[in-house]
């Protein structure tokens, strides 16, 4: 498998009052295209910080990130926004759908932030993505009218609508009942068939076990990186 992301010596230091907090204390990792990875760890282990940096929401204090062959560790805000709308998808624990928009509009949203937005093409792509997650019968509903499982499937559709290289799912099953947990995890796992790298970020071992590779983090460092 070809390398999608390669990170070396990644550090992130926050200043908290008089103290420096090392959220990431030197992380080296490689992610291949089409990999299903879980990042496991308790809160404060640095897994969220790692996800934010790899998801172009934040920048590291030190270290290098090569994404699809390009050094991206020190990009400006607009360039990072480009990566978020073109190469990355997010799935959140609390779904984070916009309540005033319909399902279709929510899913089409990332495409409207691209350079040449085309509302019709975006709606068409959103329909395809919703079909993919089995939600094409709810296009004109508002998120408030959907169940938790349905909302998360819509959120996954939003994450994949722009054909990203990688999807970060941050505790995607934290607000779901058992039946929907399986459904959502299966759905996420199936995305690797399309060449998408899926990164599950969780503190739940049973969720992490669904991935083929589990990276365990502790105190800003990779403690264990095992393939199953």
């Amino acid at each position: 498998m070809t390398s999608l992301i390669s990170i070396r010596g990644l550090r992130k230091t926050y200043r908290m009052g008089d103290e420096n907090v090392h959220a990431l204390a030197g992380v080296d990792l490689d992610f291949a295209a089409g990999e299903f990875v879980a990042i496991l760890g308790p809160s404060g282990s640095g897994k969220s910080t790692l996800m934010h940096i790899l998801g172009f929401m934040d920048t590291p204090s030190e270290g290098s990130i090569v994404f699809e062959g390009e050094e991206v560790a020190r990009l400006g805000a607009d360039r990072r926004a480009w990566y978020r709308s073109n190469r990355v998808g997010f799935v959140f624990q609390s779904f984070n759908l916009l309540p005033r928009l319909t399902v279709l509009e929510n899913v089409a949203l990332p495409l409207l932030y691209r350079e040449r937005p085309d509302a019709e093409a975006a709606a068409a792509a959103a329909r395809v993505a919703l079909e993919r997650v089995g939600m094409s019968h709810r296009l004109d509903h508002r998120p408030g009218q959907l169940s938790g499982g349905e909302r998360q499937r819509v959120a996954i559709a939003r994450a994949i609508v722009g054909s990203p290289a990688i999807i970060f799912a941050d505790e995607p099953t934290g607000n779901l009942d058992v039946r929907n947990v399986d459904l959502v995890l299966d759905l996420l796992g199936s995305l690797i068939q399309e060449g998408i790298t899926v990164v599950l970020v969780t503190h739940d071992l049973s969720v992490a076990e669904r991935a083929r590779r589990v990276i365990t983090m502790r105190a800003g460092l990779v403690q264990e990186d095992r393939q199953r």
């Binding site: 934010h52 998801g55 929401m57 934040d58 805000a77 607009d78 926004a81 480009w82 978020r84 709308s85 073109n86 997010f90 959140f92 984070n96 759908l97 916009l98 005033r100 949203l109 990332p110 409207l112 932030y113 691209r114 350079e115 040449r116 937005p117 509302a119 939003r158 722009g162």
Partner: protein, 428 residues
């Protein structure tokens, strides 16, 4: 191009937010609504007023009229009173020769408030001695079929002819009698009616008095009075050669100052330095009107400005509150690829939408205000509407509100644009 593509969804989004928070939006718009309404109503009413001023000044002979009146000598010249000859026809000749800027000179000799009699009917009005130049100077005329005005020949021959103001006619003649050619008596002297002056119907500045109702309305004062040749007035009534004044009409209003100066110098020289005359122009009147206009505009504009300012603060306040409520939404939008500028545009467009809708509602209110004001003014004054809304003013009012909305929206929009996406997503 790209900007427009981004603007449309931002505006649609703004309308959606407006609809979702109707009451709050209305409250935030109230300042803008009142501001625009008062601005538009103010400008409209002031413009109507100024229009009336202009008409009034025009009715007084316009800006190109100079009035020379006899006046008592000032204190320091009182002992020279015997030398004063007053204003005479000789002055008219001198001015004709020496002040080329003056096109017409109308000498006027007031006879006084006299009784006119015709066939047992009587009325009293002012009798003035004038020449043919009275018409161009006073901007009056005789309508076709209404006879003619006093001619140079009438003046030369001291003819006993009379021209009536239109308001005098119904008082003196039964409706079925054509006044032209009839003979009326003034102080026992028989005058042949040769014409009737045009009737002035004004819709402008209203001068109200108890007697002003009825024919001619409040313009009656301009339509009353009768005119006889100035020579007739001087020799057959007044018994001296002193005129009561001159009306001068200049060719070019821009040369008013020069014309006044030349007139003054000529008259002073002719009067041996005696200041037994005064020179006035309508410029001063117009200037007074302008000052009133400016004062109105400043005070009312101040009120409108303050309410627009408050309106702007209202919009800013509501935008900040709205952003606080939607921090998570901002985080989500950023997470899916929105740039800071996208969010800036989105929230600025929202502020603009609020101000445009507020401005439109304000225009609606302003039509109401102007309507009510017109109603009140027409109740107080019997003729003529006072102010009409015009599209240019309304467009200005709307543009004002949009500018206010945009200015008020900048700070909240900047805050939204600068929010950290991670912090925003964590926000509960």
């Amino acid at each position: 191009m790209n900007f427009l593509e981004r603007l449309r969804p931002a505006v649609v989004n703004g309308l959606r937010e407006l609809r979702a928070n109707k009451i709050r939006s209305l409250l935030s718009m109230s300042g803008i609504i009142l501001g625009v309404a008062s601005l538009v109503a103010m400008v409209t009413v002031v413009q109507g007023m100024v229009g009336n001023f202009r008409q009034f000044v025009d009715a007084m002979g316009g800006i190109e009229k100079i009035t020379v009146d006899k006046q008592p000598l000032p204190k320091e010249q009182e002992h020279l009173a015997e030398l004063s000859e007053g204003i005479t026809m000789r002055d008219v000749d001198r001015l004709r020769r020496t002040v080329p800027l003056v096109r017409n000179i109308s000498p006027e000799a007031r006879v006084g408030f006299e009784k006119l009699a015709f066939d047992g009917r009587e009325t009293s009005t002012y009798v003035n001695g004038v020449t043919a130049d009275y018409l161009p100077v006073a901007k009056r005329w005789v309508d076709p079929g209404q006879g003619r005005f006093i001619s140079d020949l009438d003046v030369l021959n001291l003819n006993d002819v009379i021209v009536l103001g239109s308001a005098v006619v119904p008082d003196l003649f039964p409706p079925n009698v054509d006044p032209v050619g009839q003979v009326v008596k003034v102080r026992g002297r028989r005058f042949t009616v040769i014409g009737i002056l045009n009737n002035i119907e004004g819709s402008g500045m209203q001068i109200r008095s108890a007697s002003s109702r009825g024919s001619g309305g409040s313009w009656r004062w301009r339509n009353s009075g009768v005119f006889i040749p100035v020579s007739t007035a001087l020799t057959k009534f007044n018994g001296n050669d002193r005129l009561s004044g001159l009306g001068l009409r200049i060719a070019d209003p821009d040369q008013l100052r020069d014309a006044v100066e030349q007139t003054e110098r000529t008259l002073l020289a002719a009067h041996k330095g005696l200041r037994d005359f005064s020179i006035t122009t309508n410029e001063q009147t117009l200037e007074d009107f302008r000052k009133t206009e400016v004062a109105f505009k400043l005070s009312l504009g101040g009120v409108a400005g303050i309410s627009l300012f408050v309106g702007g603060i209202g919009i800013m306040n509501v935008m900040l509150a709205s952003i606080n409520e939607r921090i998570r939404e901002i985080g989500v939008r950023k997470a899916v690829g929105a740039r800071g500028s996208d969010l800036f545009l989105q929230f600025l467009a929202e502020a603009a939408v609020v101000s445009v809708v507020g401005g439109l509602l304000g225009l609606l209110v302003s039509t109401g205000i102007v309507g009510v004001m017109n109603y009140i003014l027409t109740q107080a004054l019997p003729t003529g509407a006072v102010a009409t809304l015009d599209w240019a003013i309304m467009a200005q009012g709307l543009a004002f509100s949009v500018v206010i909305g945009l200015v008020a929206g900048v700070y909240p929009a900047l805050r939204a644009a600068r929010l950290d996406p991670i912090e925003a997503l964590r926000h509960e």
